[in-house]
């Protein structure tokens, strides 16, 4: 698994990449465009062999959470795992799928926190509609 460092790419270079991507063939264009979008949004770009597996401890570290919390997610079936003897193993592919959803959900929560006033006003309207 290789994580590509993208945080220091200036935005104007991404703009150039987009311009180039527009002139490329459709297959390459899609790859370059989604790469550019990931970098702009601050997402990590990871090149992996998705069939590789990690231990729960490695997974917890990779996700930046406590082992307790990760085991809870495994127990609840939120992250798919298999057993090797008595130990649990997680496919990197499944870990990334979980992480993608988690990032989406956290992003949405941050936006909901930032727009509390609008949500409150809309919630008031939802009550008023029932009066």
């Amino acid at each position: 698994m290789k994580t590509l460092e993208t945080s220091n790419i200036p935005v104007d270079q991404l703009d150039e990449l987009d311009q180039f991507a527009a002139t490329a063939g459709p297959e390459l264009r899609d790859v370059l465009m989604s790469l550019s979008r990931c970098v702009r949004e601050g997402d990590e770009v990871v090149v992996i062999d998705g069939s590789k597996t990690v231990t729960p401890s490695q997974a917890a570290e990779r996700l930046g959470m406590s082992r307790t919390h990760l085991y809870k997610l495994l127990d609840r079936g939120e992250i798919v795992f298999h057993r090797v003897g008595r130990d649990r193993r997680i496919r990197v592919h499944d870990l990334l799928q979980f992480e993608e959803q988690r990032q989406r959900d956290r992003r949405e929560l941050a936006e909901r926190f930032a727009h509390q006033r609008q949500t409150a006003a809309a919630a008031t309207d939802e009550i008023a509609d029932l009066l």
């Binding site: 945080s7 702009r40 601050g42 809870k72 992003r107 941050a110 926190f113 949500t119 009550i127």
Partner: protein
């Protein structure tokens, strides 16, 4: 009425400016606007009609039953909607020149009565909509205070560990429950890692899932437990937070104060400035879209973000970047 009748006598210039600009939704609650005749109307007509306090019906208004109220030189006419029981202050003005002046309140009522214009004073659909919104806003605040109290009770039950389930009712009790919330605290004592981890499962009833009301409930519950916005992790409908040992017991004590004083806790947005790609994109500040920081936190950039102290994790990762 606000616009044409109450052209003077305000205790503050702000409402008049908003009325002139037509920003009616900013005037809430209208019954508390700082004008002597509005204050008089509010105190004269309470929830119990038996205690209503008015001079009597205005004799010259035969087309419409108007109850008269007085406050120094100001006079007002109050109409009761018999269908809903709501009392509306529909006309107001000054008593002038021993009631001989053309602009005198009673003269105006009489002229309007003779011309058959009194019906035009009745509340419009807009007025009724504003009243509805105002009532809804009051109901929402009451409901939030209730939710805060419920969270306090649940947190007290699980502050040292365990699970507690609560049912949250819709602000309008006739609508039944709006969500089921499971709150659980795990006291983790792992040698070098000691924490009180908290998990929250919020299952909104299907007809309210994704509604603004459900979202408002979610943020209210989260803020009650832990106000710093960036302290929360989320996966689907599970919200998690890591507290130091004993943190939730301490939070119960803080919530006691909020509950007792009938005030709502407020969220705390990030107190540090993060490094992010989108920092250079003024767009996300305008759109209110969240960006991801180098440390992994999500935040919606605001104008004053740059002025905050730097996030240590972000700074460290920024330093480590090649080139």
């Amino acid at each position: 009425m606000l616009k044409e009748d109450l052209t003077s006598g305000w205790d503050s210039p702000v409402p008049q400016r908003k009325i002139a600009a037509g920003q009616h939704s900013e005037l809430h609650p209208v019954s508390e606007l700082p004008h002597p005749i509005i204050a008089k109307a509010t105190e004269s007509f309470g929830p119990d009609a038996a205690h209503d306090n008015y001079v009597g019906p205005i004799a010259s208004a035969t087309q419409l039953r108007l109850l008269e109220i007085k406050q120094s030189q100001w006079r007002g006419g109050v109409w009761q909607d018999t269908k809903t029981g709501v009392r509306w202050l529909v006309v107001a003005g000054l008593a002038k020149g021993d009631h001989q002046d053309r602009d005198d309140f009673y003269q105006r009522v009489q002229r309007a009565n003779e011309a058959g214009d009194l019906k035009g004073w009745l509340p419009t659909d807009d007025d009724r909509r504003l009243l509805k919104q105002e009532t809804a806003a009051r109901i929402r605040t009451e409901w939030e205070l209730n939710v805060q109290r419920q969270v306090r009770d649940a947190l007290r039950a699980v502050q040292h560990g365990g699970t507690h389930t609560m049912t949250i009712d819709h602000p309008l009790s006739a609508e039944g429950p709006i969500a089921r919330v499971d709150l659980s605290v795990a006291a983790v004592r792992d040698g070098d890692y000691q924490a009180d981890e908290i998990d929250l499962d919020i299952a909104a009833n299907s007809q309210f899932a994704g509604s603004n009301l459900a979202w408002h409930l979610t943020t209210r519950i989260l803020i009650s437990i832990s106000p710093p916005e960036q302290s929360w992790d989320r996966y689907k409908d599970t919200y998690s937070n890591i507290g130091e040992v004993g943190a939730w017991a301490a939070r119960v004590a803080e919530l006691d104060n909020f509950v007792d004083s009938q005030t709502l806790a407020e969220s705390v947005s990030g107190s540090t400035s993060h490094y992010s790609h989108r920092k250079h994109l003024a767009g996300s500040t305008v759109e209110g879209k969240a960006v991801r920081a180098l440390c992994g936190a999500f935040f919606v950039p605001t104008q004053d973000h740059e002025a905050l102290p730097e996030c240590p994790t972000c700074s460290q990762r920024f330093e480590e970047l090649p080139g």
